[in-house]
Symmetry: C2
Amino acid sequence: MLKGKIAKLAVSDVRFPTSLEQHGSDAMHANPDYSAAYVVIETDDGLKGYGITFTVGRGTEIENEDGRGEKGHSEPPRSGMKRGHKKEMLKEGYPAYTTSCAWLGYSDQQLTQLCSTALTEGWTKFKVKVGADLQDDIRRCSLIRKMIGPENSLMIDANQRWDVAEAISYVTKLAEFRPLWIEEPTCPDDILGHAAISKALAPLGIGVATGEQCHNRVMFKQFLQASALQFVQIDSCRVGSVNENLAIMLMAAKFRVPVCPHAGGVGLCELVQHLILFDYISVSASLENRMCEYVDHLHEHFKSPTVIRNAHYMPPKDPGFSSEMFDESVQKHQFPHGEVWRSILEKNGS
Amino acid sequence: MLKGKIAKLAVSDVRFPTSLEQHGSDAMHANPDYSAAYVVIETDDGLKGYGITFTVGRGTEIENEDGRGEKGHSEPPRSGMKRGHKKEMLKEGYPAYTTSCAWLGYSDQQLTQLCSTALTEGWTKFKVKVGADLQDDIRRCSLIRKMIGPENSLMIDANQRWDVAEAISYVTKLAEFRPLWIEEPTCPDDILGHAAISKALAPLGIGVATGEQCHNRVMFKQFLQASALQFVQIDSCRVGSVNENLAIMLMAAKFRVPVCPHAGGVGLCELVQHLILFDYISVSASLENRMCEYVDHLHEHFKSPTVIRNAHYMPPKDPGFSSEMFDESVQKHQFPHGEVWRSILEKNGS
């Protein structure tokens, strides 16, 4: 048990100017600056705790969660299985997919080059941002599918761009590229809309993935009850932290729907790898249709950055939630008075 | 068209210490201080605009709404009908119900006295807060039903206190008091849960009412699609202002579900009366099962306070949205440096 009292609490508004190079661009966010509300708590006996919430530059988001219960159960694998799965993870890691190749703002030349590099690095699962322009998306998906071949996986992500009927019609036109899922086809609150889309796309072999904008377990409960998603995309920062995510993982197991976490924003890969390893070792015990998102940027600001080997997340070996940033990174990227932002804002004459 | 430019914008954190007398207490909020984020915009040619968002003392809430479309339609009544309805409203007003008699923290003696006064003032529809303790609620509902007689309306409000099965079982035990609706029986995000509750309570003649915590039209769309509510409780401040509420009223009309607005918080009665009059005159053209909440406090701080006559909202005659507060009220109730709060905080030794 901890004995110290909280003696200090510091909050920093840390922002990275990712929009300058279109990293992170999608159908809803043309110019996102990946950012974090970063909290450091210190106790009077010298311990420190680090917490992070991802934003796209519009400030701190705090999720208030009431503490009421929700039902959910799973059949945990026997401890022998657990040990086997732990060993497997330590050796091979948890399968990842990459979103770094095909942000919406990238040129075809960039796509081709990034995809080619990723293939040589061993990546087999690729996500493509879609939803701004159909002809553009057909060209981009065709390009990627040709490069990765018929065996590798392709997923598409519309970032909530469409209405329900529009989503069905649009995705049907991309079915020839055999996407495993369409992610965030419409408003993330529209459970019944997602159910209609799921039903319409099932005959095409395309699942619906969503969850990164789901604000609590009650929303996930309904998505599962209504068969409105086929891939549960938990996020380490959106809901009320670890406990709320555990409830969601247990419900997903009950409904036999795979958990494929959202990641990519500042610190999200670092955090969510802990949750998905727990899911595999202690809850789902399966890798079927399961993978965790990976985006290859901003990891250098963390003291225990994610380690990717052969397109797999290797289990973190340092203690903690991998959430501690380097002091220097925090200082430099403070908004608006850190060195990086002073220089950008001066250039823009503001 | 407005010609001036915005020259000044002032935001005040205005709080009223309502918790001192248990006004506003319910099953989820034992000690709410009714508060408002109050915004005044001034243009360089001297115009002023006043905006308000209700909170329970935990600060400003700002709803960011994207601008995407949702479908909905209604058949507007003919203009002759409209004129008739306008006249009717000017003469008789819009029916209201009172929540002022039965806050959860009031004693039985207080209930009896307030209810008795309300009856002599012409009130016929009464809401009772429930959900903390069943025996307590049975006693309170029995008391109120006896006082108001069999013809008047009684509604109950649990402020999200229960799980789904718990709500059904609890309300079934209050059915003998013939509540017209149970309000917020469970988590306000749980559309499918509300559908299950609606289905279970329909044979008892009890409807489900919700909406004050619904954050956008997409949530209302699903509540309506799933037959998850029988009374649509729009709120003037929760969603993206007037336009979003119009979309919700039009959807309610399409599904033939009555709109019975939430009100009571600082300024909510002042604002929502405009919306419900529009609903009657231009959308629903019906008063069947329709009424608007009223709470009798804090109106004295507004320049154009609501006028209640014989338990009806009388149409406001001043121009505008009735949202302007007296400067003196704003000054005195600024948190934490206004006169009222300085004195309370000093007493509490903080």
